[in-house]
Structures are given as structure tokens and as C-alpha cells.
């Protein structure tokens, strides 16, 4: 089964209107910005976004109007603070009303973990006494049948699509990742469809040479997208550093709706794919983000 798709084909084929999509599961690194931008370009509708935090990607997507709901622990711009599109959507319904299911980083992890584990819920000692236990949120309180202590129950999440941004994968989707992975594995194991966006497509031999480096096994993967710099402006360990300026400028630009729309026209609708985006970004900028101080891992022996 051929799994290599262009970004455009993959989004066309595997993201349906109304889908719930977990992305940005590694927190501030390895955020699938290119994937998110393609969703906007294809004008998908009524999506639910799922993730712990997503830095400014969720804000960008909310502003485009393709999002119906967000289930997340934090929505904003990590180094700058609030996300203005999120505020406009929740406070004023601009461009449309967006519902937010408020989680914490831990409890969104637990929800995906329960989904991955195939159980309907998992108990926790977090959430107790907070505003998240009330309202239409699905958390329940329970007295532990063993210890009698209070527990909060977190029901499982099983998103339709998980987008995994990684350093390298083979054509079958066997995926190597290094660095802090956040809740990426749980996201992939809990989802119905897994899409891998990778800096490099490598031969399966490379995977086999270090199977402990594998984060996601290919048999769960529906599509592999070879998209270098697909995570920019978030960092990709071993490939490029974080482009802090992009977060600062987006924060300023998106303060007003008009500014956001100009940003959107330039960086999303103004380019047809990531290739054009990178041209717009410019070689000099890309060069400034490259890894300067290489730090190779030592090898280990898998022999017999």
C-alpha cells in the first residue's frame, strides 16, 4: 500500500469536514505548521482540534474559520501570551463561535492515553477543586473503591486523525523521533488515522538499525508526507532551530482581525505549498535557523 503523499493529497484524502485532529502533541517543538496551513487552504469545515498546547498554530487555524471546537490545555502564543484569534472567536464569535473544552496538559495526556489503551477512562488526582470539573466538561468525581480518596475521572479521547511531525520515517510510516515527545505517542496510538510529516524519508534499514528510536510503528500510519521544514517556525531537533521572530511578529500582526487576514493572505493563501512558503521566508532566514553546533549521539550495539 502506497503511503507517500504530497501534503495537498494527504489533507484532501485523510482530513474530512467535522474530523477531530490531534496535532502539536510535542508541545513547543515539532508542530505541524505546514499541515495546519494546508487545512486552512483547503477550507476544511467544523474541525475539532485536540492537543496539549500548540503554540500559535491553533490560533492561526481558529482565525481561518475552519474550527468548531478545541480540546486543549492552553491556546495562545507561548512566548508572547494570548492568541488574539482565539479571544475573538470565544469572546465575540469572530469569525465564528468556537467551543473550548478545557483540559490541563496532564489530563489531555491522560485522555489520549486512555484512548490509546482502549479503556473508557483513567482516574487522576489532578483537576479536583478546579473550574474544569464543572459545566459541560466530561470529568466526573469518584470515591476510590480501594482508598476512598477523591479522584477525577478523565474519559478517553480517540481523535479521527493524529498528525505526527518527526525527523525521519520510512515509506511505510515507521517513524524515528528524538527530543521530548510530549504526548505524541499517545496521540498516534489513540487516533483512527495517523499521518506522519517528516523531514526525511529514509530506507527501512535506517529504522531497523535503531528500533528503540521508533516512536510510531508504520502499521498504524495512513500517510507519510515528506515535507522538509514542515514544522517551521517551531524547532526540529537536529534540523533547525525555533524562529522566535515569527512568533513575535504574528502576535503583533494578529492583534486586529485585519492584520491577521493580511498575515493569512501572505503566508497561507499567498503560497500554494510549503515550497513557496520557504521561498517567501527566504534563504537567509533559513540559513540563520540551521543547526550550528552538531551533537551526534553515540552508538549502541544491537548485535547477537
Amino acid at each position: 500500500m502506497q503511503k507517500i503523499f504530497s501534503m495537498k493529497e494527504a489533507v484532501l484524502r485523510f482530513v474530512e469536514d467535522g474530523d477531530s485532529i490531534v496535532m502539536g502533541a510535542a508541545l513547543e517543538a515539532a508542530i505541524p505548521f505546514a499541515f495546519g496551513h494546508e487545512i486552512i487552504r483547503q477550507e476544511k469545515k467544523n474541525l475539532t482540534l485536540v492537543g496539549p498546547i500548540s503554540d500559535m498554530l491553533f490560533d492561526q487555524m481558529i482565525g481561518s474559520g475552519c474550527i468548531h471546537k478545541v480540546a486543549a490545555a492552553w491556546i495562545g502564543n507561548v512566548i508572547m501570551g494570548v492568541g488574539y484569534n482565539m479571544r475573538r472567536a470565544v469572546e465575540e464569535g469572530i469569525p465564528r463561535k468556537v467551543e473550548v473544552d478545557d483540559y490541563t496538559n496532564f489530563t489531555i495526556s491522560l485522555a489520549l492515553h486512555a484512548g490509546a489503551l482502549g479503556i473508557p477512562f483513567i482516574p487522576t488526582k489532578s483537576l479536583l477543586g478546579t473550574g474544569m470539573m464543572s459545566g459541560r466538561m466530561p470529568f466526573q468525581e469518584m470515591d476510590c473503591p480501594y482508598t476512598k480518596e477523591k479522584l477525577a475521572l478523565v474519559p478517553a479521547l480517540n481523535p479521527d486523525v493524529a498528525v505526527v511531525q518527526a525527523q525521519r520515517a520510512d515509506e511505510e510510516g515507521n517513524t524515528h523521533y528524538w527530543g521530548g515527545s510530549g504526548v505524541t505517542k499517545e496521540a498516534a496510538l489513540s487516533a483512527r488515522k495517523v499521518i506522519v510529516v517528516t523531514e526525511e524519508v529514509v530506507s527501512k534499514k535506517v529504522i531497523r538499525r535503531d528500533p528503540n528510536r521508533t516512536l510510531i510503528p508504520g502499521f498504524l500510519v495512513h500517510a507519510v508526507i515528506h515535507e522538509p521544514w514542515g514544522a517551521h517556525p517551531s524547532p526540529m531537533q537536529g534540523y533547525y532551530n525555533r524562529d522566535h521572530e515569527k512568533y513575535m511578529s504574528y502576535y503583533q500582526e494578529s492583534k486586529e482581525r485585519e492584520g491577521y487576514l493580511r498575515w493569512l493572505d501572505k503566508w497561507v493563501f499567498g503560497v500554494k505549498d510549503r515550497g513557496e512558503y520557504l521561498k517567501l521566508l527566504g534563504e537567509e532566514k533559513m540559513k540563520s535557523l540551521l543547526i550550528k553546533r552538531r551533537r551526534k549521539s553515540l552508538t549502541v550495539d544491537y548485535g547477537y
Partner: protein, 270 residues
């Protein structure tokens, strides 16, 4: 008479450092050498780097994206996911592993910030105006609520303004002591709750019985009345308020090494 700092050099005057730098120093001083610290971002991250480089070389820092470090990163950090925070780490893993440490009681200290705090140290970082009548939608909990619920002790860092220091938060994102004595026990919370609030005006701690915030020290150049005016309830304060120790030159140099562009500490509070 010229007062001297702990390195023996003349004390820095308030003009020599920013309020953010003082807060970082105050945060760092709360970190003990044997602490396992849930670090977070922004000023706490700098506080951790500073503590490691000065009085707490054995402290361990954990980050919810799945990182455990025992030495400061080799370059300035804007987020915990930045590449220098991974290089040279002891453990890079998953959020579940990090949160397991937190929930199982292995994290002795955590830092959080907030938009609104109340007299019992409850934080709101989600809905200003409450969930039903949202005036401002803020980013939300992130890991803050987890840390507030589960860490051994918790330090809150925030800007001291009357609109932020409110009698009662309209929404609890990160639980402090709820409505006071025994509230945490009644709600089954494991962690010890907040132990200090480091603000732009001073340092506040909590009464061991009533769990109410008490002003403990004011920063150099700040008078008690200014703190009271910027607090939305009748704040208790000790009869003899200390002055927060200013940064030493070493501390300041160290902070500036970790924040070379001054993004976090010299361009004003984010």
C-alpha cells in the same frame, strides 16, 4: 555606610536591575539544592537556570514536554522545546513520564504564573469574568493546574496589580487553598499548595493555619501601602516587613547570560 551584597560587593541599587530580574532572583532563592523542580517557562525558567548556576547545583529541572536536565541549557531559551534544552539533557521522554513523577509525589517544587490570584492563592488563567460571562478568554491551564494540584510546594510569579489580585477568582484554573483551611484535604489534593507569591512589588507567603496570603517582604523602593493599594482585599502583613534582598552582581551577570537579549527581563513583563 555602603551595604554589601552576599558576594561582598556594594549592594546594587534599584536602578541597576529590572523588576523582572529581581523576581528571577527571588524565584531562584526559593530553589533548594535537593529540589526536583517542575520548571515551566519565562521567569521561572531563568530562575531555575540561575539557581543551578549558583546555590543549587544539584537541583533537577523537569519540563512537561518530556525533559529532565541537571545543568542549564547551553544557549538562551525562549521555550522549553528549544533545541538547546534538549541537547545535554539527562532524559528526553514523554509528558506522561514527567507527569507520573509529578502525580506520584516526586516533584518537590513547581512554578506557575497567572492572570488573577485571590487571597487563598487560587489562580485563574482561563476565564476572566467567569466561564458563564467570559470577559477575557485567556490561554488556559497548560500544566499550571497540574503543578498547583500535585507539586510538593508551589511558587506563583505574577505582576502585582489590583485587577489581578482579587478577593475571589471567578474561575479556579490552578487550585491554591480554595476557601482556606482544609479545603485541599477536603478536595483530595495531594500537593502542598502555594508557598510563595513573588510579584512585581514584593513576596507574599501563606498563613500556616488560615491559608491566607500574608505580605512577607517588599522589593527595594516599594512601600507597604503601595502593595496594599494594589491588592483587591485587606491584605495581611507582618508587623515588621523585610525588604527583599536585591540581586548580587553575580546573580545579575548570570541572568544576563541566560537572557542575553533581555527578552524576558529587560523589555518589561510579558
Amino acid at each position: 555606610m555602603i551595604e554589601c551584597d552576599r558576594s561582598g560587593e556594594p549592594n546594587l541599587r534599584a536602578a541597576d536591575y529590572t523588576m523582572q530580574e529581581l523576581m528571577v532572583v527571588a524565584g531562584a532563592r526559593e530553589i533548594r539544592d535537593d529540589d526536583v523542580v517542575f520548571v515551566g517557562m519565562r521567569l521561572p525558567l531563568l530562575a531555575f537556570q540561575l539557581a543551578k548556576a549558583t546555590h543549587a547545583p544539584h537541583a533537577i529541572g523537569i519540563f512537561e514536554n518530556g525533559i529532565l536536565r541537571d545543568k542549564p541549557a547551553g544557549d538562551a531559551l525562549y521555550t522549553m522545546g528549544d533545541t538547546p534544552n534538549i541537547e545535554g539533557a539527562i532524559w528526553t521522554t514523554s509528558m506522561m513520564d514527567i507527569m507520573s513523577l509529578l502525580q506520584s509525589g516526586k516533584v518537590s517544587l513547581g512554578f506557575i504564573g497567572g492572570a488573577e490570584v485571590d487571597r487563598f492563592g487560587n489562580l485563574n488563567t482561563t476565564y476572566i469574568g467567569g466561564k458563564e460571562r467570559v470577559r477575557i478568554r485567556l490561554p488556559g491551564s497548560g500544566g499550571g493546574s497540574d503543578i498547583a494540584s500535585l507539586a510538593g510546594r508551589v511558587i506563583i510569579m505574577m505582576s502585582h496589580e489590583r485587577r489581578r489580585f482579587v478577593e475571589r477568582v471567578s474561575y479556579i484554573t490552578s487550585p491554591g487553598f480554595g476557601d482556606g483551611e482544609n479545603w485541599r484535604e477536603r478536595n483530595g489534593l495531594k500537593g502542598g499548595g502555594p508557598c510563595a507569591v513573588i510579584t512585581t512589588k514584593g513576596i507574599l507567603r501563606f498563613d500556616s493555619k488560615t491559608k491566607e496570603m500574608v505580605l512577607d517582604s517588599v522589593h527595594p523602593g516599594v512601600i507597604v501601602e503601595e502593595v496594599l493599594e494594589n491588592t483587591g482585599w485587606n491584605l495581611n502583613y507582618k508587623s515588621r516587613i523585610k525588604e527583599t534582598d536585591p540581586p548580587t552582581r553575580l546573580e545579575l551577570r548570570t541572568i544576563r547570560r541566560f537572557d542575553p537579549t533581555g527578552f524576558w527581563t529587560r523589555n518589561g513583563m510579558k
